[in-house]
């Protein structure tokens, strides 16, 4: 399955809001039964290097999917799903 190739990253300054996004993303990945690992990056320079300025960020395959807020689990699942479908083509 190509889904294993997806890289999922949560980037944040280490604040409680960022931690919440990390936990929700892990939950989403677990519920979707993907083998993918969720990476948690607290180096804020990485966010700025991506051209972004709000924390936290959820990036899928290096592309920002959610910036500056915490969506609910279903929306995270949808975003991961969409990225997975693109990979299959």
């Amino acid at each position: 399955m190509s889904e294993n190739k997806i890289t999922i990253q949560v980037l944040g300054s280490g604040c409680p809001t960022c931690k919440k996004l990390f936990d929700l993303t892990k939950q989403a990945v677990a519920e979707m039964k993907l083998g993918a690992k969720v990476e948690y990056i607290t180096d804020v320079q990485k966010i700025v290097d991506m051209g972004l300025m709000s924390s936290p960020v959820l990036a899928i395959d290096g592309k920002p999917a959610f910036v500056g807020f915490v969506p609910d689990v279903e929306e995270i699942k949808k975003a991961i799903q969409k990225a997975g479908e693109k990979n299959n083509i």
Partner: protein, 321 residues
């Protein structure tokens, strides 16, 4: 007739009809006041935060940066202060905003104007002001906030403080291009809904406690007790209010209802405004986080200039109003 007249009817009905509290007692006025204010504030919070979130989804900080990167210093200060209003400010984003601006070539002074305006003129504070003090005080607050943000940024720009920023900041340059996920209208509405719920979840308890304590003071504490210590005649009231406001950052939502009642009991308006500006603009946790990117001396200068601006505003309004 106020648009909140139905809310008043609801509060009256609950207090006298449902709870059967004897009218014109202290308890009745406190309960009525509590129901009216909480209902009104929650309606305002939901509507205004939702609206601001929708606007923000079209104008995120990344787009604001693209505008600011090419402006000269003074135009920049003005624009940055104004744009700071719609940007939500959580201390989590203080560093990314700072790095993102400075590394894309936005002048330091302009960046500071934004850092002052963004938390000080935020939508939660504005809703509380609007709901509890009315639109005149809200407009006064916005205008004085903008002036303080512009001047603080202009002064820091003039002082040439770049050497007080940690050196790694300038070693890394980024472009000011916008690299955001595209949002459909449905996604913008979902974002605004999530954001509004998130803020409501964060502040509801403070609002309820703040209005609750306020309602109690409203009913029971005599006015001259407070006026004696915090009326406009007391010279130290303004600086003291600013000092007390610094550690109270995240509680702005609960502090404002409390303060609105204190005003009714004799605290002067200038002191009140100074206190609220200090609660929102000067935040200890934000200063701790900013230490990663700038020397403590610059943080102190920044806090000092903003404090002086707030104290001046406080005295001015005590004198004028």
């Amino acid at each position: 007739m106020s648009i909140f007249y139905p809310v008043q009817l609801l509060a009256d009905w609950l207090t006298y009809g449902l709870f059967h509290i004897v009218p014109s007692t202290l308890l009745a006025s406190a309960v009525d006041f509590f129901i009216y204010d909480t209902t009104k504030i929650f309606i305002l919070l939901s509507v205004i935060i939702f609206a601001v979130s929708i606007i923000r989804s079209y104008l995120p900080p990344e787009k604001i940066r693209a505008v600011l990167a090419h402006k000269n210093q003074y135009v920049g200060n003005m624009l940055a202060s104004t744009l700071g209003i719609i940007t939500p400010f959580c201390s989590c984003s203080a560093i990314t905003l700072f790095l993102g601006f400075v590394q894309a070539g936005v002048p330091l002074g302009t960046t500071f104007s934004f850092l002052v305006a963004s938390p000080m003129i935020n939508e939660v504070a504005l809703v509380m002001l609007l709901g509890l003090f009315g639109w005149k005080i809200t407009v006064i607050y916005i205008i004085s906030g903008l002036i303080i943000a512009m001047l603080s940024g202009a002064i820091i720009g003039k002082l040439k403080m770049e050497n007080l920023v940690e050196s790694f900041v300038f070693q890394n340059a980024v472009g000011a291009s916008v690299n955001l996920p595209h949002m459909t209208r449905k996604e913008r509405v979902a974002y605004a809904k999530d954001y509004t719920l998130d803020i409501l979840k964060k502040v509801w308890l403070y609002v309820v406690i703040g209005i609750g304590v306020g309602a109690w003071i409203h009913g029971y504490v005599p006015a001259d007790f407070i006026a004696r210590y915090a009326g406009s005649g007391t010279w130290y009231a303004v600086p003291l209010a600013v000092l007390i406001g610094i550690p109270l950052y995240s509680n702005a939502a609960g502090v404002i209802p409390l303060v609105s009642v204190l005003t009714e009991k004799g605290v002067s308006m200038g002191t009140t405004l100074a206190f609220m500006m200090s609660v929102t603009a000067l935040s200890l946790p934000e200063f701790m986080i900013l230490k990663k990117v700038m020397k403590p001396k610059l943080i102190l200068i920044f806090a000092g200039i903003v404090s002086l601006g707030i104290i001046f505003t406080g005295y001015l309004f005590n004198w004028v109003l």
